[in-house]
Amino acid sequence: MGAYHFNWFLAWQSFPRFYWGLALGLELAALSLLIGSVIGMAGAFGRSFGPTWLRLAVMSYVEFIRNVPLLLLIYFAFYGLPKIGITMFDNVWSFVVALSVYSGAYLTEVFRAGVNSVPVGYTEAAKAVGLMPWQRVRLIILPVTFRIILPSLSNTFISLFKDTALASAVAVPELTYAAEWLNVNTFRTIEAWTFAAVMYLFAGYGIAFILRRIERRYAVIR
């Protein structure tokens, strides 16, 4: 086995591939966070106010997702769904489905804890003002919940972003896949993975920085 010859230039030449891989990863994470939030909100309301069967359904969903590896969900969405007649998703969209269903379970818990931690005094003040039930939810409970759970949402986003690396398993051309491509095609193994790691690192720091600023902007509760 000969000495390893570093060739950073070859890696650098693939920068566009890495760059677009990173951008795609961010998009996938953002999209899954969005869809997952809708699932999570619905799940939280179903879990808190729904009939017993719905509560049980939501609870099983959350428990199931929590105990099944994400990669399995990704494979199921990609290989399994077409087998049961759902053929409308390509590899990218099947990954979005998997990651959304996955994040939806965690966000169900996040939203539930958030709604429960809205002080009852705010709801009563909203009642006293004369707001209708749905106005109380829309104007008071949801905005306050959003501010309470904002830190959890940012953490979820960062962890979803790292999870997008798993999309490479179904050939979604995100950052990890770009590194894999470079590895396979040029054997610049260490450069490829180092390059990807550095980009994950910078992106992660950047996102955290921006999210902390947004959090501070909305931190109006105590």
């Binding site: 006293a128 003002v129 509760i221």
Partner: protein, 257 residues
Amino acid sequence: MAPILKISDLHKHFGPLEVLRGISLDVDPGQVVALVGASGSGKTTLLRCVNALEDYHKGSISLGDEQIGYQELNGRRVRLPESRVARQRADLGMVFQSYNLFPHMTVLDNVALGLVYVQKKSRAEAERIALSWIERVGLAEKVKSYPFQLSGGQQQRVAIARAVAMQPKVMLFDEVTSALDPELIGEVLAVMQNLARGGQTMLVVSHEMMFVREVAHRVVFMDGGVIVEQGPPEEVLVRPRTERLQTFLTRFRGVLR
């Protein structure tokens, strides 16, 4: 003169605990009625029933000629749908011990909210009205502040503005100065005194006996879920007839005499 608020034979229990045991109380328009009594005597529960924040088990509460929270259907008392109750609450203002300002809204938005979403006023009209009330409680320079940027006394004055801006028929105050530092109590009581002078009908739970004595037209002493004594402050507070009220008042001796 017909009473604006009429409470008749109100009963309420939490499980086995009977908290209100037949309360009857009328409040005339423009009257300030003070509720006093020891901790646990049911004052808060009574106010919360009036604003339909609690169910009750027997009796009735009417605002004008409309029953609050319930209707009679085939001789049975049935809870009104939440949307009807919401409309009724728009005619009642309530101020809580813990302010409960909406934390994500500025002072202006807190006060304008009900005007826009309940009274369906235009945003401009609502803000004009809100601003005039914010000025009246002395917080003109804080309109753009958020609740967390205000002192307790300032927050409570905003909470009062938020309630009175809706021009409620009756204002309910539940120990609104109890959570405040002593030096901030005066500014809140002054706002309430001004409201009373302006003819606002008020039902006030308070331990501020100086204030009660000066502002209330009638003092109602509650104990163990019943009204034990009531009358003008100079009688009830100065010449209590029952032993229970005498005992209660001993702790305010310094303030009252």
